[in-house]
Amino acid sequence: MPISYHEERHFGEFGGQYVPETLLAPLEELTEAYKTFASSEEFQKDFKRIVSEYSGRPTPLTYAQQLSRDLNREIYLKREDLNHTGAHKLNNAIGQILLADRMDKERIIAETGAGQHGVAVATVCAYFDKECIVYMGEKDIKRQSLNVYRMELLGARVEPVKTGARTLKDATSEAIRDWVTNVENTHYLLGSVVGPYPYPDMVRDFQAIIGEETKEQFQTQTGTDPDGLVACIGGGSNAMGLFAPFLDNEEIELFGVEAAGEGIDSGRHSAPLVTSGHGVLHGSKSYLMSDEDGQVQTPHSVAAGLDYPGVGPQLADLKEKGRLQVKAVKDDQVIKGFKYLSALEGIIPALEPAHVFGLLAEEPDWLGDCEQVVINLSGRGDKDVLEVAEYEGRDLLAGGEAE
């Protein structure tokens, strides 16, 4: 194949394969495998069977009665919180472990920040009986020790990353380094719609089951399509998973919520789409938080799963084209969103999707004319209860609850 620009590996000007030459061969191998296997009927059958018999799909589409009343439109929640391990992350992990298995890779590596993706990967590795190494920043390891222990229970080795800010982006870099070194027997199980082609496409396709089910369930429950779709955006996999099957229909409005952290002006946020220019990190071009010299900035959010300075290239493209509306919401309002949904619907959301509820509780009009809206409830909040309590100044572990 003579050297040339591959239009189909990009989304508009975003995406691509911005990687050292060493990675081109493994990416080519992965692309081949992805194209050969992933679309095959047999693979799809296995994928469907496992997400159903192991992870509990389809996840429900819950009509949120009190929320609908409060936001003055029909709100439906796509319940990714009900997946095994508690978030949409497992969909992708299942898809990729199946692919790795087809590629005869016995060693799986992954990066993780909060540990959600790490737990998902450790889970499928246990289920498929494969070696599992999860790279995790040393700082995150300290902050998320519970998830570290979960991964270990699941048989994974958690490898502390001591470089850079010692958080997710550094863990990602370290995973890439491992992959470059051990491509022969190793699959790099990337956790979101970021990274070089084919990852953004592949992860989106595995997550698209969210949107496919939603489409069907919404039709069954209402006889029509929703007119608005909302998701929180970290790397963007839960958003793209929901949006994907609806992209054709230009009348459906897409809304994304980023993390404003301590406030956009404070610089301590995680909102590249709202605040930043274009950039290249971890193999693809997108929006990226970086300074004038191109050094990547350390993101911040109360939701560890949104703590990434970049964003999936397809979302960058959707935003650039005006198809995707994006807003960012601050930590304190996120905590309100967390409590708002819990009390209203009996569903404690993860802090990541709590961004959506925090924003809507404050600005319901953002949804404009949309009358039937699906929100992707990407994960459950059990993992965050301790942190929220702390944020509110309550020390649960001191056992101070009894009067």
């Binding site: 040339s4 081109l24 380094r177």
Partner: protein, 266 residues
Amino acid sequence: MNRLKKVFKKRLEAGQKLFLPYLCAGDPDLETSRELVLTVDENGADVLEYGFPFSDPVADGPTVQKAGLRSFDSGVSLTKVFATVSDLRSETELPLVMMTYYNPVLKRGEDWFLEHTSEAGFDAILVVDLPPEEGLEFYQRAADYELETILLATPTTPPERVRELSQLATGFIYYVMVTGVTGARTGYDTKLAERLQVAREACEIPLVAGFGVSNYEMIAPYLDYVDGVVTGSALIQKIEDNLGEPDKIKSEVEQFVRNLAEPLHS
């Protein structure tokens, strides 16, 4: 003919190999780093790959990463690197390669970056994570700013691709001798010689090899197939081992460069 082209011509015509050390700009601090450029020049380096550090260097191992951190700690910035190089040009004609990642380029704008790199006195540019598929125009445009371009090849790069890369690049092909990241190693894959030979045959411009080279002995078996040798981590290790003692650093670097340059030039 620019400095880089000239030195390759000179050495190759003399039947000699080139020695191309890698240093990270600003490591261990801006002043020492500036002096180290002169040190390597005076001790036999033919070309210096001068890295502008990036916050997320996925292709680099711990030694180079730590060099970058030291560099950030010393307050490195593009402006300062350009100023230093500009200033150095009154003292040295050593060909300099701007080696970096793509985000610093993109952020300033490709043209801005090429223009300033060239104006500061660099002779070539190597962008680690910009393969030609993504950077065709960029690499072509470099010529407008009188910068040579350098592309990477690896043991898994098929010969046809090596040929194409060498048709695109103007400076040389940097052959990465291992899969993996930068970092000193103890030896190479048994098939390396064979692969290098194939690459050498396909390559239409000079080909230099690197990644993991700690000393002359390691590279000696492959000298038939390469025009030059790069060393990075092993050299940088001398800095790391002697932090706080700039004179020791200089003498160690001096020794290290000599130890490689002399046999390569003989």
